[in-house]
Symmetry: C2
Subunit: 233 residues, 2 copies
DNA sequence: CTCCTATTTATGTATGCACATAATAGCCAA
DNA sequence: TTGGCTATTATGTGCATACATAAATAGGAG
């Protein structure tokens, strides 16, 4: 008899998910601990641990030392969004990418930017605006603020040949940030730049990044009409 | 001397990320294999493997058996989006959640839905519309199609006490799906339901899920003005 | 009864080893 | 040259073991 076939962590993960969905383990309920599951499945605890770690990453269970593992009360779905550099996103669709720098100046930030970046209102930041194009058509309008004291090199960078978007990704590591999606009616200026009607519904992303507690940059991208962000679950 | 302190996989992950960002390992370049790194860091290959697996999950490196590990050409950022059930999202903000079923009927799906769900145009699906409210204010308009042959139980479900959103999350497991975000100008009907002006810019999510190759449901959520989706990087 | 401490316990991680698997590279034959 | 077989090699995974760490609990001092 082939007594050798080991249990894979994937099969344990699947069985755990099955039990949760079949309500054998109900939301909020404590599930058996790793050692017991290892015995039940006839494998090492390491393997159970690996499986449960994956399930925990997906948000279906919550684990705490000593307290044990319980089924999450509210099954929160988690989706991974891929956020490529705009140039790559456009070129992947087989279109020609272009970027035009529209303005560049050291300016005092408006209150909204101050709040988001935690910056002093009397301290000038580098303010850039530009247009990303795909096959010559307007794709997205970029409005960016850069903390020059945190990124001195940005003052020298030439943003006419490389977009600030890409320059920052290539040159400035960051430890975290946040990202917001929303919808917004095109202003007069946005409509002109994106060649659409004023008031048209546009997709907007706002992102800011920080490093070592310092805010680095804050950017708002207003996309041309019809833009969609897509992801798999 | 304390010769005991082991190297943690986190510290290896951080060092790997540092080298990538410092351009010691350039995009597209092959990095040393696990055994070498294990020797360099003075730890077990398992530990290096764990670290590299994490980095690979974040999208910074690509790994293939036998071929080795290389730094990703285009540093694609990955963000994890949390997609809670609407009720939970609203209640977490301390607001009172409500749902009103607006319509329920077995209908022939329009071409768009047929395409997304891979459903036959002559096969009726369960079509539901309803309004999610927060503190009595319109929050999102739901327009859902359910494949009743894949989910027979949906035909009996009472969607006036529990929203289809939540009923499906609780009762129907799925293996995958996709999710799209976009902006959309409010139609007459949407404006009436959401109590906003027609043409106003609204945030829209479209989601469809499948299981075992069969499409289960397709839903379109149109949010009231001002809605934002937020995530951390 | 309250507060603090020590113990217990479940998860988290590191290690050495073995073997599985995918994919390249090299070889040989037609 | 071409086709296909084989050996090689880097990653992927499983296991037994050991110890680390967080956190709940029990026990003891006041």
């Amino acid at each position: 008899m082939t007594e050798s076939s080991a249990i894979s962590w994937q099969s344990i993960r699947d069985e755990v998910l099955r039990r949760i969905r079949a309500r054998e383990w109900r939301p909020g309920q404590l599930i058996p601990h790793e050692a017991d599951l290892a015995t039940e499945f006839g494998c090492a605890r390491t393997t159970v641990n690996r499986a449960l770690r994956e399930v925990a990453d997906s948000g279906m269970i919550e684990r705490r030392r000593r307290a044990g593992t319980r089924v999450a009360l509210h099954p929160v779905r988690r989706a991974t969004l891929e956020i490529p550099v705009l140039r790559v996103e456009i070129e992947r669709r087989g279109q020609a990418y272009g970027f035009t720098l529209l303005s560049r100046a050291a300016e005092l930030p408006p209150p909204g930017i101050c709040a988001r970046m935690g910056s002093a209102p009397d301290r000038p930041l580098l303010h850039l605006t530009g247009l990303h194009t795909a096959d010559g058509q307007p794709h997205a309008l970029e409005d960016r603020w850069i903390a020059t004291d945190a990124i001195p090199a940005a003052a020298q960078a030439d943003f006419t040949t490389i977009s600030p978007n890409e320059w920052l990704v290539l040159n400035v590591p960051f430890e975290g940030g946040d990202l917001t999606f929303s919808a917004h009616a095109a202003s007069e200026g946005e409509a002109r730049a994106l060649r659409c009607a004023p008031g048209e519904a546009l997709f907007v992303t706002e992102r800011s990044t920080f490093q070592a507690g310092r805010s680095l940059t804050s950017v708002r991208l207003v996309f041309a009409p019809g833009h969609r962000v897509h992801t798999r679950l």
